[in-house]
Subunit: 377 residues, 2 copies
Amino acid sequence: MTPSEPTPLPLGATIGILGGGQLGRMSVMAAARLGYACHVFAPEADSPAMQVSAAATVAAYDDLPALHRFAASVDVVTYEFENVPAATMAALEGRIPCRPGPRALAICQDRLAEKRFLAEAGVPVGPWRAVHSPEELTAALAEIGLPAVLKTTRLGYDGRGQAVLRQPEDALPAYERLSPKPLILEAYIPFVAEISAIAARGVNGALACYDAVENQHRHHILDLSFAPARLPEAAALEARNNVTRVATAMELVGVVALEMFLLSDGSLLGNEMAPRPHNSGHWTMDACLCGQFEQHIRAVAGLPLGPVTRHADAVMRNLVGPEGLAAWPSLVSRDDVVAHWYGKAEARPGRKLGHANRLLPLGSLAGLDDVTACDGI
Amino acid sequence: MTPSEPTPLPLGATIGILGGGQLGRMSVMAAARLGYACHVFAPEADSPAMQVSAAATVAAYDDLPALHRFAASVDVVTYEFENVPAATMAALEGRIPCRPGPRALAICQDRLAEKRFLAEAGVPVGPWRAVHSPEELTAALAEIGLPAVLKTTRLGYDGRGQAVLRQPEDALPAYERLSPKPLILEAYIPFVAEISAIAARGVNGALACYDAVENQHRHHILDLSFAPARLPEAAALEARNNVTRVATAMELVGVVALEMFLLSDGSLLGNEMAPRPHNSGHWTMDACLCGQFEQHIRAVAGLPLGPVTRHADAVMRNLVGPEGLAAWPSLVSRDDVVAHWYGKAEARPGRKLGHANRLLPLGSLAGLDDVTACDGI
C-alpha cells in the first residue's frame, strides 16, 4: 500500500521551534530553504537559532501567556530537544499540531520508558533495573554485576547525570550523588563500537533511513562520526532496521536517532535515542541531498520525505570549546571540508561551537584507519 | 608568488548587506554557516533576507542617519545588487570597509563604463555607440546597422530599459520611450548561446572560477542554466578566462558574473556583468562544495576562497510567478532536485520565487538534449 500523501504546510507558513540551540538553528535554515518561516521560542536571548529565524520569543518554558501567543503565531510546533517540560507541551498541544508528537516525548524523557519501549519495538537492549533506594541498587548490582552504569532516568545528556560503577565501593557515593532523582542501573556493555542511525517518518507513515555511522566520544561528548560505519553488511542493515522499528513503533513524525552498542559477535544493543535531529547525523548535511534537518522539517511540514542517498563518505568532527575554535583557520583552508558554525559568542570548554564534515570519495572510508580518515580535521 | 593571507573577519563578526532580496537571503544563510551574523539594510520590511538575518534596518537608501547607525553596527559591508545609489556607498565608505569596492560599483552601474572596462580588461565586446540624441541614434544605426538593441545605460535588468530595433521605424519610438536617460546602442549579436561564468577574487588577490554555464531566457528572465555549458573545451576555457580577467582588472573582492554571447565560430563576446552572486550561479549551491554565496562571503570576510570543483552536473530552473509556485508539489517529491524558496509572500507574475537545481551524474549532461536534461523540472 502506498501511503497517501498528507496535505503539506503551504509555502510561507510558519514553523514554531522550541529551543534556541544549534539544532534549532540548522532546522531554521533548512526550513527557510524549503520556503517556511520559523518562530523560535527559548529562554535565552540571542540564541543560535534566533540569529537566523524570522521571529523569536524569549520566555521561560512555563510562561503560559507567552506559549499561547507563540501557538497562535505558528502553523505547527516542533522542538530541538526532547527535554521540553511536559507542561509546556500540554499547553501547546490543544492549540496547534505538535510534531513529532507526545508519545515520542514521553518515551524519550524517561530512561525506564525508553528501555521498555525499545524492547517492545523489537530492539534488543542490555540488562537494566530501576533503582529507587540503596537496597534496590544493591539488589540490582547482585543481578547485573560489575561494571555497571548508574544513571538518572531523566534529563541526562553528554554523560551528565551518570556514574560508572567499577567496584562495590563505588555504589553508595554514586547513589548519593545522583539521588533522590529516580535512577536506572544498566549493565556496562563491553562494546566494540558505538553505532547510530537516523530514521525519518512522515505524517503519512512513510519511512526513510540514513546509513548507520560509527561514533567516538571524547570527555563524554561526541567527537567523531564516521559515515558509513565500518561494519559487516548484516550489522549495518540491522542498525537501520532497529531505528526504523523505533520510528514506526513511536508513531513518530520527524526524525529519530538511535545509539547502539556493537558487540564483538557483531550483534547490536539499543542504548539511547532522541526524537530529533542528532549530532551523529550532522554528516548528512553535506553527504546527502537531503540532510537530517531538512528531513525533519519535511516530516513536520507534511512534505514527502527527501532523498537519503549518500553521495560521499564523510567524517564529522565536533568543534568543541577553545580547541574547536583553534581549528578554524585550518578548516576554512581545506577544500574537502565543510564547516558549520553555530554563532555562539563564547568558546567555553565543553561547548559545541560547530562541526566540520570532511567528504571523501564514495566507498573510500572502509579502507582507511581513523587517523587517515580524519586527516587532521 | 603565493598571495599572502589576509586577516579574516573573526567568527561572530557582523556582515552588513545592502538589499533584502533573495541574493541577500542566500548570502545571509551562507554567512551564518560560516559563523557570521548579518545585518540587512533595505527599504522593504519583511524582505526575504531579513527573514533569516540576525539584525535588520528598514530604511531608505538615502537615510543618512540610518546608514551611519548601520555602519557602526557591522564589521564590513557588501551588497546584493549593483544599483545601490552612489551616495549610499559614499556615506558608508569612509566609515567601514565596503566590498567588492567602489570600482566594481562605478563600472557596473553604467553600460558605457562597462563596455569600456571589458575591452580594457581584454574581453572582446560587440559594436556599440553612446546615444544622447535622436541624431546620435541615427548616426549610430548607420554605423552599427540593424537589428540593434537600444538600452538605458543605468538601472536595467531582466530586459527592462531596453528595446530591440528591427527596422528603421523602430528607432524613434524606442528613443522616446527610453530617453531622456543616457542610452547605448548595441549591435544585435546573432549568438548561438548565452554563456556565463562566475569568478571570485579574495582580499589578497587569490582567484577562483566556477565552470561556465549555458543560459536560456523566457520573457527576458533567466529560465534555465545548464552546468557545465555544452561547449568546445577551448570556448569553455575562454569563458572562464574572460571572467577571471574581469575580476582581476576590477580589483574585485567578492564574486562577479560575466554574461557572454557564443558566436557560431566558437568565439565569445562579453555582454553584461554583475559584481555579486548571480542567478546563473545558483547551481553552485548544490553541485559544488562551496557555492557562490559562500564564496562571496568568504571573499568579503577575508577568508581563503572555497573549493569550486563541480561534483555533479546540474540544471537550474528559476521558479517564477504562479507557474513557479505550481511546480512546488512536484519538485518536493523529486529525489534528484534541491529547490530553494525565497520566502516571498506573493506569487506575482514575473516574480522570482525560488529556483530548483536538478543534479545529474558528472559528465552526463553533455549527451542530453534540453528536454531530457530538465526532465520536467
